[in-house]
């Protein structure tokens, strides 16, 4: 389990406990946190669960999956620290992870 903070584009914070093994995307969807659409349901096929991972965390979490960058090309305002939240698996090591959400997903 890890406490993860999701920050909406307008600054609203949501901190929730997410079970190990779930993805950061699922943590948001299951807790009804707005800002992550996840249209394809976690198939890495749509780029609508796009988040920005705070710099210090970016290098600590698992590396991007193969093809993730290709999908991120199609995300809304991708940046250097962009990730698809469906590709970040939650574990105890992610305790305190903070992700920022883009203004919108589509």
């Amino acid at each position: 389990m890890a406490k993860i903070t999701y920050i909406e584009h307008n600054g609203t914070n949501h901190t929730v406990d997410v079970q190990n093994g779930l993805t950061v995307m699922e943590g948001a969807v299951q807790n009804n946190i707005p800002g992550i659409d996840a249209d394809c349901g976690g198939g890495m096929a749509c780029a609508t669960c796009h988040v920005y991972v705070k710099e210090d965390w970016f290098n600590k979490i698992n590396k991007k999956s193969e093809g993730e960058d290709d999908m991120l090309d199609q995300a809304y305002e991708p940046k250097k620290n962009s990730r698809l939240s469906c590709q970040i698996i939650v574990s105890d090591d992610l305790e305190g992870l903070i992700v920022d959400m883009p203004e919108k997903q589509t």
Binding site: C40, G41, G43, A45, T48, D73, Q74, P78, T106
Partner: protein, 339 residues
């Protein structure tokens, strides 16, 4: 005006199997889809990805599933209206009048929305003022490449569409190709060709840059692009082309007077009918307690919605439940021999 027993919006797996169910019970139907091909998300998002939870099919890809569903429809004569988006659904007596963006119109007692997460639309630029130039100096698809002849064209994107057009247009225009990172994701041969053309200066490459600002009054005159280190370059350009793939938008469905919650349409679980009589929603786009977004659920929902359509399409006939294994009438419709 096309008259039909049921109009299906969406040619994904759910729409296709719903069509099969309608034809099996003796109703006719037409299918509209905004994509230029049949298959919906299966074909657009994951044609090569294996699916493991289709009943009795241990493993198949999105493309294989689509092809199998198309094969299953072979006995039937069904009109597909591809590259058309349903814009309007209006009541007229006990019928619905449905109009597409290409001007096709239908009259039908039954409209089945099998629209997934909505229609696929090109992803657009997010910089300020992009709407103003859209369809004039900003384009997301190319209908007539001749309009670019001798002009400067700035192409954004790193996939096959962006690369293919960069190569093609470099024949007779000045091409800037701008991509947000170092690697392209197109076919290797095309990527090589782009690099070759960049070497001979036929294509100007700007990697790790993104669009920052559009400058111009009635049409674009020049643009600012920015790299990761906030360094800005100004490019003179006549056209800006964006190839960032497709996104799904609920679109006009939101305006048809349906109960919508979180981009899904509320239905009952007997007929999969919405709050509007004769409009049904099946597959990923429908919502009811316990809804699972699985392809197999879409098949079930379509089968029930098809039965509900019968009542409105043939009010003077009684629907009789029959099995494909034994029904003569069904076998006739399928064009197979009865025992």
């Amino acid at each position: 005006m096309i008259k039909t027993d049921a109009l299906i919006i969406g040619a994904g797996p759910t729409g296709l199997f719903t069509a099969h169910q309608l034809k099996l019970i003796g109703l006719d139907c037409e299918i509209v889809d905004n994509l230029d091909k049949i298959g919906g998300q299966c074909i657009e998002l994951y044609p090569d990805k294996p699916i493991y939870d289709i009943p009795a099919v241990p493993e198949c890809t999105g493309e294989e599933l689509t092809n199998n569903l198309i094969n299953q429809l072979k006995p039937f004569d069904i009109n597909f209206h591809l590259s058309e988006r349903v814009d309007e659904v209006k009541k007229n007596g006990d019928k619905w009048i449905v109009k597409t963006n290409k001007g096709t119109s239908f009259t039908t007692p039954n409209v089945i929305i099998a629209g997934g997460v909505g229609s696929f639309e090109p992803r657009k630029f997010s910089v300020e003022g992009h709407e103003k130039f859209e369809n004039k100096s900003i384009l997301y698809s190319i209908k007539d490449k001749n309009i670019f002849k001798g002009k400067t064209v700035s192409i954004f994107g790193g996939g096959d569409s962006a690369l293919d057009w960069a190569v093609e247009l470099s024949n007779n225009c000045n091409v800037n190709l701008i991509h947000r990172r170092d690697e392209f994701r197109g076919a290797q041969a095309t990527v090589d060709k782009v690099h070759e053309l960049a070497k001979s200066n036929k294509i100007k490459l700007f990697k790790k840059f993104q669009l920052k600002k559009l400058n111009g009054s009635s049409k674009i005159e020049n643009i600012d692009i920015e790299d990761d280190d906030k360094q800005i370059k100004n490019l003179k350009t006549d056209y800006v082309l964006g190839f960032f793939g497709l996104i799904m938008q609920l679109g006009p469905i939101a305006n048809w007077g349906l109960n919508i919650d979180k981009k899904t349409v509320e239905v009952d679980t007997e007929k999969f009918e919405t709050n509007q009589k004769g409009i049904y929603a099946v597959g990923d786009i429908c919502n009811y307690p316990g809804k699972l977004k699985l392809i197999l659920s879409g098949f079930h929902e379509g089968a029930l919605a098809a039965r509900a359509c019968f009542k409105l399409a043939k009010p003077n006939e009684k629907y009789r439940f029959e099995f494909t294994t034994s029904s003569k009438a069904i076998k006739n419709r399928l064009g197979v021999k009865s025992d």
